[in-house]
């Protein structure tokens, strides 16, 4: 299967989005948060994806990573590059990659 999931051209520049990298970024960003907090966050994010509410999804996500002390730099970069209004199929894959990344950091507390 192709590694380049999403490709878009802005001017002359071509941008690629690797879903795997996106998941990795989410995983690295949330590993220090508490399980209960992440569980609630995942639940809220899932609700927004279900309704295909992109605005709400990014609102919740950005609010969650808007912390100067956390390790969110990598995820911020990814979002900065890719944040856009996407077709539904792309958004679903984008969003679930982030959610799976967060879930992978549960410590079973």
């Amino acid at each position: 299967m192709s590694e380049n999931y999403w490709e878009r051209v802005i001017g002359n520049a071509k941008q690629d989005l690797h879903l795997k990298d996106l998941k990795e970024a989410a995983l690295n960003s949330f590993k220090d948060e508490s399980d209960n907090y992440k569980q609630k966050l995942v639940y809220n994010l899932l609700e927004t994806v279900r309704n295909n509410d992109q605005k709400e999804f990014f609102y919740i996500l950005i609010k969650a990573i808007n912390k100067p002390k956390g390790n969110f730099n990598e995820l911020w970069k990814k979002l900065q590059n890719n944040y856009d209004i996407m077709p539904e199929e792309t958004f679903v894959n984008f969003a679930y990659s982030i959610i799976l990344g967060i879930m992978a950091t549960y410590r079973g507390e």
Binding site: M1, Y5, L19, K20, K23, D35, Q39, V42, Y43, L46, V49, R50, N52, E88, E89, V92, N93, Y96, S97, I99, L100, M103, A104, T105, Y106, R107, G108, E109
Partner: protein, 594 residues
Amino acid sequence: MKSIQGEVSQYNENMQNQLAFTGNWFIDAGILGFVNLMEEVYGWDLNELQDRINTDSHKLFFWFFPIGYLFYHSTIRGIHGYIQNINKDLYKENGLNQKIRETEKEIKNLQDKIAKCNNEKEEKKLQNKLSKLEDKKLPELKEKKREALYKIEELNNKLVEERKKFRENTIKPIDYFNLGMAEIDKFLPNFSLRLPAIARNFYLFNSKEIRNSPFLAFIYLQSLCWENYEGLSEFIKEKIPKTEKAKEGLTYEIYPDSTINPFLYSPSQFPNMGYTKPLKTLEIEKSLKLSLPIFIPLLCFEHTFENYYEKGVIRNIFFYTNNLDLCYSINKKMQIRKEKAKSKHQSLLKITFNSIIDELVENKADFSLENMYLVEYEEIENQKLINVEYIGVPKLQASIFIDDVLREALNISIVHRKTKENHFELKWLPEEFIKGRPLYPLILSHAYLVLNKEIKPSYYSSLYSLIIEANILYFRAENEKPNSTIFSENYFNNYKGLVQGIKEDVRRTSYHASLIKEISKDKDKKARIARDLISALKAKDKNLFLNILLKNLNESKELASNDSFNRWLMEKIVRNDACFEIYGLILVMNLVRG
């Protein structure tokens, strides 16, 4: 040196005479039909027939074939017809066998009633009834059955006898181009041609004059094989001058059409199709470099097909591959298996594919399956084909099917539909697979039935079917990319990489997907999740599927953070747009298994 050259040229000449396939399935089917017919009439197998062609092809084509063909369509088919009628009386609904069974049942019921009866008067009445059945009706019916079976045996003996006589007579040296009426009558006593379904409008069968005259029939057929059109035309004008044929002249004898064989097209039915006239017999022979007269394959076509009754439908099936020896032995094996399987209610294709696999394994010929075609028709009505199907086995499917492990895993019939209480419909997976039909919908219905506790799961075969299908879909998606070539490296390598990939995927997926069982300890909860997921799969809604799955997974932190399971989900479901539902279904199957 000279003598060696002589031997070589003799050998080459013999090779030219050899019966061989032409590469045109239609003519090849006729050639195989010819071999079958000669075997049925004279008992010669392919090797012996080849020997006879080498030594005296002339006699074979212009004597043994025409006289044998007429013998088959009058005597052999006549006796077969009688046997069939008796069998029909025995086995039909309300037939003798059923009556015997019913009477025996009635007797048993009466015996039970008598045993329970307390009233003497009533018991006497029942006893009377019972003795009538036991002493009169049942013995009468059994006697009738015995007579019928005896008659069948007698007819079979007669067939053997007639065939023996015919073989002894025809094998003697004879000047077969100058035979008189009385001589031919001797070879074909009690001559009466029976109409075959395939060529009922053919002059040989539909004219009163010729149908009952062995002499006229033989000369007509011999001239056709000889392609002596002038002679044939004169013969018709002279011997049967007042008939329509004499007025009409020769038509399909020169330009063969659907009158002779319904698989040929008829210019009168498609007036706008032919810009030129259809091909002449001579032209066909020349272009295909046929080693035998064209009318032999045309007329023997029906002897190629093996007929078979399945669920009240007659299916006529023929397996074609472009090599005569292989084709002959596969079709022969099929015939033997069919006889053996009569009592076991096996699916026809199960029998046929098993015969093919046997043959291929024996010959270690992987190339053959991909060169194999299945031709099937249900019936011929008024020279028109009903429900005809031509199925080729695609190279990709063949390469997968030829692998022992994958074939064994696929080789089952799977329950996929409930028709009524305790009645289920089955589909044989290899048939669906080879015909290129998707397996996913079948397994989805199967999983649904398992979920409703109607049946037990066939997990192993379902897993293999789904992963094979997923890998084919991946493979196709890759090939549809703009830079891909039509014939990839994989194509020439018989898709060995793909087969390897499937096995690897089965190993990985069976482990990772089985982890889903840890989502909960409660069986009912797992069933509920499975039900929700299956509805999402039915709606083909990836978003809904993932939402349900992850919401439930969110409650089981240990499983959610299981690195290998998490990665597998990411790879097979989230990143997979070609066939996420297939892996989704594998998860559901694991949940259902508990």
